[in-house]
Structures are given as structure tokens and as C-alpha cells.
């Protein structure tokens, strides 16, 4: 069965020039097991070979989350909509926080939209590995698959919330512009950040379950440290640079620019975000791969 012969080629990790003895054995795979050498042995190809498992883990997450809920995928928008409502009442109506000339609800929603995705992806990515402890203990697969699946699954929620956001925008008479297309690369940046956080937090959580309790509250602090309920312009000028070290600042400002279409993109803070995220992501990958060897032993 030549078909089947390619079936589990994804099991191989390192291909060598194996003795090509017999004709049928065209896709021989040789695996070498040894203690890992060096920090930079990332082996991202293994993740690619296991892409089907990645797909199924994402699919499982979505199925499980919505299959049993009466409202199903509607839950994806309940949370951000309520957040926007509360912010509009508390900050928009009572505290009269300025909103750069937009209706406060739209202004806040444009920040809540990327934030909800980011927070959910980072939370799940940080905690998900422990949730799949059984798999880690008994099955081999590139462990990176788990945080990857965890940050990919909430994209569906984002898509649903995004459609609702467009509706709200049109309701307020704001027309989308070509800048809307920039949501995709910005989403990529947000995903990278939540993945970077997952790669750092998930291994620590394997060892210290404290992360499980710390993450929700850290995320809440982080949210108020990002320009979601207030505009960047409210941050005092002399603190602005320091403030922009929060990578979510550039991201959220970018989203507002892309979604609402006014003003110009703050390339500086977005650039800072991208650089910080890139560094955190690469370092996170190395950290994760290094920690990975003991997952099965201590999880």
C-alpha cells in the first residue's frame, strides 16, 4: 500500500540516508533518539509534519466549547459586547473619557475586539498544556502543537466578534475603508504575542501551577495598562515612550487605525511592539523547547 506508506511519515523526526535496500521502502524513516544538544535545536519541521494533529486539536477545542452550549458560537460575542456595554456606561457616560471623536461604544469596541482575542489566546495557551497532561504523558508529538492550537482556536471567536463589530460600525454610520485589510497582519502580530506568552507561561505552569491563578489577574492589570477604555492621547506625553513598551499599545492603536480608518498609523509604537514580540517569541521558542524535555516527567 504505497498510500499508507506515506501515512505516518509524520512520525519521523530526523531523516537520514538510510540503506535504500528495497524498492518499496522509498519513504524509510530513521529516528535518532538522544539527549538534545544545544538550545537552538528547534525542529520546527516536526510541527509541520504534525499539522493534522494541530488541526484536530483546534477542531476539538471548538467542538467541545460550543457543542454543549445552548447559545453555541453566540458566546463568542456575548463577552466582548458586555464589556463594551459596561465600558460605555462607566467610562463613556459617567467618567466622560474622550474617545477621539468617535462614539464611545465604537471606540471601545475597536480596542476590546483585539484585546478579547489576545487575552483568550494567551490564557488558553498558558494553561492548555497542563489540560492536556494525559497526552503529554502517554503520546509523542511535538509539544509546540498544544500552545499553537490554543492560540489558533480563539480566532473563530474573533471572526464572529469582528462581524458584529462591522455591524455596530455601520449602525453608527462609519464606513470601513481599505485600511480594514490591515486587520489581517495586525491579527498576526497579536497571535504572535499571545503565542510568545504561551511559550513562556505554559512550561512554567507545568512546574508551578501558580500560573493558573496568576494569568487571569495579570491579564486584567494588562488590560488597564493598554489603551482600550481610554485613548493613547490621555497618557501624559513624558510617559508615552515607556508606555509604548507595552506591546499591546501598538497593536491596539493599529487596530483602531485599521478599523475606524481615521488618522495615521503610529508606526513607532507598532514598530516597538513588533520588535518586542519578535524577541519574546524567539526566546519563548527556545525556552519552550528546552523545557519540553522534562514535560512528560513532571507534568
Amino acid at each position: 500500500m504505497p498510500n499508507y506508506d506515506r501515512g505516518i511519515v509524520l512520525e519521523m523526526e530526523t531523516s537520514l540516508n538510510s540503506p535504500s535496500g528495497i524498492g518499496i521502502e522509498s519513504t524509510r524513516s530513521v529516528i535518532i533518539i538522544r539527549p538534545r544538544q544545544g538550545l537552538f535545536d528547534l525542529d520546527l519541521m516536526a510541527v509541520w509534519r504534525y499539522r493534522e494533529l494541530l488541526y484536530f486539536l483546534v477542531w476539538r477545542d471548538l467542538k467541545v466549547r460550543y457543542a454543549q452550549a445552548a447559545l453555541g458560537a453566540a458566546w463568542a460575542v456575548v463577552q466582548p459586547i458586555f464589556a463594551v456595554l459596561i465600558f460605555t456606561v462607566v467610562f463613556g457616560m459617567f467618567a466622560r473619557v474622550p474617545s477621539e471623536g468617535y462614539p464611545y461604544a465604537v471606540f471601545a469596541f475597536a480596542g476590546v475586539l483585539p484585546w478579547t482575542y489576545f487575552a483568550e489566546a494567551a490564557r488558553r495557551g498558558a494553561l492548555g498544556l497542563v489540560g492536556d497532561a494525559n497526552l503529554v504523558r502517554k503520546i509523542y508529538f511535538p509539544r509546540l502543537i498544544v500552545p499553537l492550537a490554543n492560540v489558533l482556536a480563539p480566532l473563530v471567536d474573533f471572526a464572529v466578534a469582528f462581524v458584529v463589530f462591522l455591524g455596530v460600525m455601520l449602525w453608527y454610520g462609519i464606513a470601513p475603508t481599505w485600511k480594514l485589510l490591515m486587520v489581517l497582519p495586525l491579527l498576526g502580530v497579536t497571535l504572535s504575542l499571545s503565542l510568545a506568552i504561551s511559550l513562556w507561561m505554559a512550561p512554567i505552569n507545568v512546574r508551578f501551577r501558580d500560573i493558573t491563578h496568576t494569568i487571569p489577574f495579570l491579564l486584567q492589570i494588562w488590560m488597564y495598562g493598554s489603551p482600550i477604555v481610554y485613548p493613547l492621547s490621555m497618557v501624559p506625553e513624558q510617559w508615552r515612550t515607556l508606555y509604548s513598551l507595552n506591546p499591546m499599545v501598538g497593536v491596539i492603536e493599529g487596530f483602531r487605525w485599521s478599523l475606524l480608518g481615521k488618522g495615521s498609523l503610529d508606526l513607532f509604537s507598532l514598530g516597538v511592539s513588533v520588535v518586542i514580540i519578535a524577541v519574546a517569541l524567539v526566546a519563548g521558542l527556545i525556552f519552550f523547547r528546552d523545557s519540553e524535555r522534562t514535560f512528560a516527567d513532571i507534568i
Binding site: 505516518i8 512520525e11 533518539i33 484536530f56 503520546i139 508529538f141 508551578f208 512528560a296
Partner: protein, 430 residues
């Protein structure tokens, strides 16, 4: 075939570091305090940590198509070896080269999600085991057929009975077609029917020239499946070679440390200990393999710490899947041992064996007069019953019956050796 070995391991070792002072650091606080403390204290070499080598310097070669059993007591390193070879954990030392597509079944059903339906789990579990979606789709009907639960396919797995759950999981696993298979003994926890399926699955793979590394405590399965055995002791290979000789060494070792105590019994409190458990045949020859119909004798030696009045000695025969198949008791056989003041020997002569071919263990329990509190409970020797025909497909035991065909009695198959002997039980105390 001019291929190299399927598995080649050189000096594999796995070290675990156990932080002393009770458990690992589960919380930040303890890690932080230790971290801070170590800043101020001079670091003594390896302070506060104990190394434990679960596996040490393990080297072997397994050729393509070979079926190797791995045996050893708990904690001997069998599972660690399997986990390293299936790449779940990394070795601390050494290396292994594996040539072929790996399938590893260390547990059946890992990764099943109880909220998903049977159909969904087939795909999920298939991909977890390393099958392509296309492959699962192709084999889907066969898997459902094998599991035998077509009407529950769209029911969430959480509503399944545990039997259905395992059957479905195994049906998926059985359609994995690896070239090299790692099988852990946890597979053998199911009922006998399930174990049988496991063995059939392995035999099917054998026919296709697959290489199998099989960890088990069940010598019977090892004997049926393997043509070579690796006996692990204290993290190292103690024996590597033909099955019969290996099992003999292993059972010899088990007997040395024999009479283990089950559960959390506190032997120090026991007034009485069983110090020996010999199994022999009519000729007085000690052995561990009996044919169906042979007569078995069990001689128990006991040590008395505190005089016990009218103890009830019970000898149970426990099948390898933990089913107690029968129990002999001095109480039910009307033997009163009186007060036993000192060490002695007690012999139980069994009627001709009617148990079907399997592996059995002897469990000895001593209770206070009648069926009172347990004074002592120990596991003695294990033995095998052998027969070409009578296996568990025939039930727990086998007895000849009498058949009347058209009014005339005509006997069918008789138990070998059984006819001559009356099935009586005698018990003698000393």
C-alpha cells in the same frame, strides 16, 4: 533483507532528580525561598537533591520482525525504556536509532474527549496516534465494525460504558499499521476478551513482519507472543535472550523475594507469617507449569510470632486478570488446627486441576477462627496451567460431562488423568 536493526539502543540512561525534603517544588513560594536561600548559603555539591537512575546503560539491538518481551518487577525501568523509545521523554545519556514507522500504545484511549461523539473521537484519536485523516476515513467502516457499536456512533463518549469506551479506543488503535510497535502492559488491564483482542492485534502485526516491543507482567502473553525476552532489573538489562530461560530467571528472582504482601498491610503486627509456599506434583517435584488434570500440592511453611487459636488458613487461586477462581479453606473443609504455638508446615492436596490454561497466583490468607479478622495475607508462587485446547474460551474451568445419545451413555472427552482419581481434598497440619 539487507537492513540494519529496527531498534538499536546504545547506553540509554534516564536520570530523575528528586528534590529532597519531600516532593517537588509545586509552588513558586517554595521555589523562591529555596532560590533566595541558596543565594546566601554556600552551595554544597548537589545539596538537597537526590539522583535516581530509572534506566542505566541499556544497550540492545532488535532486528526487523523480531518480537521482544520486556519483563521485570515494578520500577525496573521497563516503562521508562518504552517512554524513551517512543520519544515521550528524552534520555539523559546514550542514543537509540529506530528504523521504521513507530506506533506506541502506552495506554488505550489517551486523548479521547468525553464530550465528543464516538465518530468524532475516532478521528481525533486517530490523529493523536499519528494517522492521517485520509487514512482514518479509509479505515472508518472497519474501525466501527471492529468496535461493534454502530448505533452509538453519534453519542458523546461520556455516555458510553467503560467497556464500550475501551472497545472503541482499541478499534482505532488496532488499525494503526506501524512497522515498529511499542506496547505497554496497561493494555492488559481490560477483561480477558480484550486482552485476547490485543494479542490478536499483535499477532496480525507479526504476520506482517512488524517489530514489537512488548512490556508485560503476564508471562503467559509473553510466551505466546515473543521470541525473545529482555529482563530488566533495577534499571538495567539483567538478561536478554530466549523466552523460556528468561522467564525462568525472572520467576526464580520473584521467588527469592516471594511472598509479597498485598495492599497496605502492616506485617509487623501480624502474629503469623507465611515463610514458604512450594508447589509440586505427585512425584514431589517442584514445578510451575502443570497440565490440565494433573494434581498439584501446595506446602505452606509458617512462622508464629504469637500463638493463634483455631486459625483459618485459606488458599486462593487467582487468575492473571485478578479473578479469584477458587478458595480452599481449613474452615470449610472442616479442619480445626487447634492452637498453633510454633512454626510449622501445612500441606494442601488439590483435586486434579480443572482450571483452563492460563497463569495463576496463589494467595494465602489466614483469618481468626471462622472467617474472622485477617491475621496474615500474602501472595505466594505463580504457576501456569497448560493445555493444547482448553483455554479461557472454554470458561474458568473444564469438567467432562456425560452425554446420553439415544439412551446410551457415551462419554465425550475426558480430562487426562482425572478419571482414575477421586477428587478429594485432604489437609494435614503439623
Amino acid at each position: 533483507m539487507s537492513r540494519g536493526p529496527a531498534i538499536q539502543a546504545e547506553g540509554l540512561g534516564k536520570r530523575y532528580v528528586i528534590p529532597s525534603g519531600g516532593g517537588r517544588h509545586d509552588s513558586f513560594r517554595s521555589a523562591l525561598t529555596t532560590g533566595v536561600n541558596s543565594l546566601f548559603k554556600r552551595r554544597t555539591a548537589n545539596s538537597g537533591k537526590t539522583d535516581f537512575w530509572a534506566l542505566r546503560d541499556t544497550s540492545f539491538e532488535i532486528a526487523h520482525g523480531e518480537n521482544v518481551g520486556v519483563i521485570g518487577l515494578n520500577g525496573a525501568g521497563k516503562s521508562t525504556l518504552l517512554k524513551i523509545l517512543s520519544r515521550i521523554t528524552e534520555p539523559t545519556t546514550g542514543r537509540a536509532v529506530i528504523d521504521g514507522r513507530i506506533g506506541a500504545l502506552l495506554e488505550v484511549g489517551t486523548g479521547f474527549h468525553i464530550e465528543l461523539t464516538g465518530r468524532e473521537n475516532i478521528f481525533l484519536y486517530g490523529s493523536i496516534l499519528g494517522m492521517k485523516r485520509e487514512e482514518v476515513t479509509r479505515k472508518f467502516d472497519a474501525i466501527v465494525d471492529f468496535a461493534g457499536i454502530p448505533q452509538h456512533l453519534d453519542t458523546p463518549v461520556k455516555r458510553y460504558s467503560s467497556g464500550m469506551y475501551v472497545r472503541l479506543a482499541f478499534a482505532v488503535a488496532a488499525h494503526l499499521e506501524p512497522e515498529i510497535l511499542f506496547l505497554d502492559e496497561v493494555l492488559a488491564v481490560g477483561d480477558l476478551g480484550f486482552q485476547r483482542k490485543c494479542i490478536e492485534f499483535a499477532k496480525n502485526l507479526q504476520k506482517r513482519d512488524a517489530t514489537i516491543l512488548f512490556v508485560s507482567h503476564n508471562m503467559f502473553s509473553i510466551k505466546t507472543m515473543c521470541d525473545r525476552v529482555i529482563y530488566m532489573r533495577k534499571g538495567q538489562i539483567h538478561y536478554d535472550g530466549p523466552v523460556d530461560a528468561g522467564i525462568e530467571i525472572y520467576e526464580q528472582d520473584c521467588r527469592l523475594g516471594a511472598l509479597t504482601r498485598p495492599g497496605d498491610a502492616k506485617p509487623a503486627d501480624w502474629p503469623l507469617f507465611i515463610t514458604g509456599c512450594d508447589v509440586f506434583d505427585d512425584d514431589g517435584e517442584t514445578k510451575t507449569i502443570f497440565d490440565v488434570g494433573e494434581t498439584m500440592h501446595i506446602r505452606l511453611a509458617y512462622e508464629v510470632r504469637k500463638a493463634v487459636a483455631h486459625p483459618n488458613f485459606m488458599v486462593s487461586i487467582v487468575r492473571s486478570d485478578s479473578v479469584t477462581v477458587c478458595t480452599y479453606s481449613t474452615e470449610t473443609d472442616g479442619v480445626d488446627l487447634g492452637t498453633i504455638p510454633e512454626d510449622g508446615v501445612l500441606q494442601l492436596d488439590l483435586p486434579p486441576l480443572r482450571l483452563v490454561a492460563e497463569m495463576y497466583a496463589i494467595k494465602i490468607t489466614v483469618r481468626e477462627k471462622g472467617f474472622g479478622p485477617i491475621l496474615c495475607e500474602q501472595i505466594g508462587t505463580t504457576f501456569h496451567v497448560r493445555d493444547a485446547l482448553l483455554d479461557i474460551n472454554f470458561g474458568v474451568f473444564h469438567e467432562p460431562g456425560e452425554w446420553r445419545v439415544g439412551g446410551t451413555v457415551s462419554s465425550a472427552r475426558r480430562l487426562p488423568g482425572a478419571a482414575a482419581k477421586a477428587a478429594t481434598l485432604t489437609s494435614t497440619g503439623t
